[in-house]
């Protein structure tokens, strides 16, 4: 057996191009279906796990898939905003508790999420270090963001400029890192949390400047603060009413099944707002994903059959080319079991290398998919 593997290794090493072609073919054949299956499964698990803790989402009427991806996973889908007054109205009712979310800003591509103080408690966050709830001008980082940006408590973050045409506008306000969360294996790991007021300051709805509330004249405006500190925090103020203040969506936790039914009925008839059951919408999304996956599965089966035929052809042609070699070995005294074992061992080595490569590539695909799909 040792001699068979020794000779097989020599053969595989000597015919590098043939070996490489076979390895690449088999690796792709294994990796594509395996990675896609694992990614879809992981994507589904990730989507579903978030719905368990986030029963309903309130948002502007329109694309429910976009609303769900934005509110649950801080995705980049474009959805219309709702007002803080809409959220407060639901929260004041006896049927549910609403947690507003403000999205739209980013720092180095990571979403900045404006949340109220009770968001951390709602998600049951624990901290790796620093604070759990952001203060005005402060930011709490998800663990993955902290690791990716290599920043910690006391560092400053500069939000991304949204429009290239804003280069003449004032600089975005600096955010002070106040805490880093422990990993949650959810979209929260990839987000930067700020208070709702901080988010509105970034929107320009709130601002702070020298001279208290005196805005000076258009030709002589007061200097805007670039960072919120304990000294200037009191200088920030708002010129809008809650009816004008925008949020992206709100997480809604009904107080009871009855509350859920009543809220569903109430918003079902609203022309401006929608209340979506996250589990139902996510299952719809997964239904679409599974449909697409079925198409790809059929495609992969065709690829598999084609690849197996190619491998069969290469092995058969190789057998023809090696007829003299095999005959020589038989004449010297090799058994048929030896020569067949030699060819089988070569294939086994190639398949083993391909499987290892495929495992590595699948891990890379899963890792890359986190960034592309925005889920963990």
């Amino acid at each position: 057996m040792n001699n068979i593997f020794y000779m097989a290794c020599r053969h595989v090493r000597f015919f590098k191009v043939r070996t490489l072609i076979l390895i690449l073919g088999i690796t792709c054949t294994i990796t594509l279906p395996t990675a896609s299956h694992l990614i879809v499964t992981k994507y589904g698990d990730s989507l579903r796990s978030r719905t368990a803790s986030t029963p309903y989402i309130l948002g502007a009427r329109g694309n429910r898939f976009g609303l769900m991806l934005k509110a649950l996973y801080f995705g980049r889908s474009q959805v219309d905003a709702i007002t803080l007054a809409d959220v407060n109205e639901l929260d004041r009712s006896e049927w549910g508790h609403a947690i507003p979310l403000h999205l739209g800003h980013t720092t180095k591509g990571h979403p900045i999420v404006g949340v109220p103080d009770d968001y951390a408690e709602f998600r049951d966050f624990t901290v790796r270090n620093g604070a759990r709830t952001p203060q005005l001008g402060g930011a709490i980082l998800g663990s993955a963001v902290a690791d990716a940006m290599r920043v910690g408590v006391g560092d400053r973050l500069r939000p991304d400029i949204h429009s290239l045409y804003d280069i003449g506008d004032k600089k975005p306000i600096l955010l002070r890192v106040e805490g880093v969360l422990s990993p949650t294996q959810s979209a929260d790991d990839h987000a930067v949390f700020v208070s709702l007021k901080t988010a509105w300051i970034m929107d320009g709805v709130m601002h702070g400047h020298e001279g208290d509330h005196d805005h000076g004249s258009p030709s002589n405006p007061p200097a805007q603060y670039q960072e919120i500190t304990s000294e200037n925090a009191g200088m920030f103020h708002m010129h809008a009413s809650p009816a004008d203040i925008r949020v992206s969506a709100a997480i809604v936790v009904p107080t009871s099944d009855k509350g859920a039914t009543i809220l569903e009925a109430r918003y079902d008839s609203s022309s401006r707002l929608q209340l979506q059951n996250s589990r139902i919408v996510v299952e719809e999304i997964m239904g679409l994903v599974v449909q697409v996956k079925s198409f790809f599965d059929a495609y992969y089966i065709l690829v598999l059959i084609t690849t197996l035929m190619f491998i069969g052809l290469i092995v058969a042609l190789s057998g023809q080319l090696r007829k003299r070699e095999i005959e020589t070995m038989h004449l010297i005294g090799a058994s048929r079991r030896f020569t067949m074992g030699l060819q089988a061992a070569e294939l086994l080595i190639i398949v083993a290398i391909s499987t290892l490569l495929s495992a590595g590539l699948t891990i890379v695909c899963l890792s890359v998919s986190k960034h592309f799909l925005g889920v963990v």
Binding site: R10, H11, T328, L331, G333
Partner: protein
């Protein structure tokens, strides 16, 4: 010619052998034939006359329909496939036309091929490869591949491979088939030197008249050819 006293011990003996290919197109009938230890025998005859068939019978690759073939006193014609294979590995060294070296094995591994495919392993096989390679001036080339060797070097590797297990019989199947006269003479000389040194029997299939003079005996295989259906 060699001293007849050293040639007295029969190495291969055919008795009333009859062989026919399955398609009945060709056969051999060999009433009585002996090849002796240390003897250098040339098997001659035109293409398709049964030269290779004769040596395949003598080495147990083919089995006769009837009669017996004994090699080194063992009745190889009645042995099973596995026994015949083991017998070949240990007792017969083959030199093939165009040498049939395995291009993916180094010179060392080509020389030791019999050990790789089933010859009884020894502690000295590595030393044996060195010794053989040194005897033909190839020691520096042991870790090279056949494609890196000249024609003459490949030919010497093939001969070393046949000698690796120190077999008592060397069978060369038209090793000079595609060679010019000088190279053919060279192959015969190297083979002869080795069999002389080890007192082995050399059976060489050839239709090259220029090399026959270097052999102790010439057997024309046409005398054994059986008419189809006879």
């Amino acid at each position: 010619m060699r001293d007849p006293n050293t040639l007295s011990k029969p190495m291969i003996r055919f008795s009333n052998v009859r062989f026919q290919y399955a398609d009945q197109t060709f056969g051999l009938t060999i009433p009585d034939l002996e090849l002796n230890q240390g003897e250098r025998v040339a098997i001659v005859g035109p293409s398709g006359s049964g030269k290779t068939t004769l040596v395949y019978l003598a080495t147990g690759v083919l089995r006769p329909e009837s009669g017996s073939i004994t090699v080194k006193g063992s009745a190889i014609s009645s042995a099973d496939e596995s026994t015949r294979r083991q017998f070949r590995i240990q007792n017969i060294g083959f030199v093939f036309q165009e040498f049939a070296l395995l291009e993916y094995l180094t010179v060392r591994d080509n020389i030791l091929l019999a050990y790789r495919i089933g010859a009884k392993a020894t502690d000295t096989e590595g030393a044996r490869a060195n010794e053989l390679a040194e005897s033909v001036g190839l020691k520096a080339r042991l870790d090279r591949y056949p494609r890196h060797l000249s024609f003459g070097e490949r030919q010497r590797v093939a001969i070393c491979r046949a000698m690796a297990t120190s077999p008592p019989i060397i069978v060369a199947d038209e090793p000079t088939g595609n060679l010019d006269a000088a190279r053919s003479a060279d192959v015969v000389r190297i083979l002869s030197d080795h069999v002389k040194a080890s007192n082995a029997t050399l059976v060489m299939v050839t239709h090259d008249a220029t090399v026959i003079g270097g052999f102790d005996r010439t057997i024309d295989v046409t005398q054994f050819a059986a008419t189809a259906g006879a």
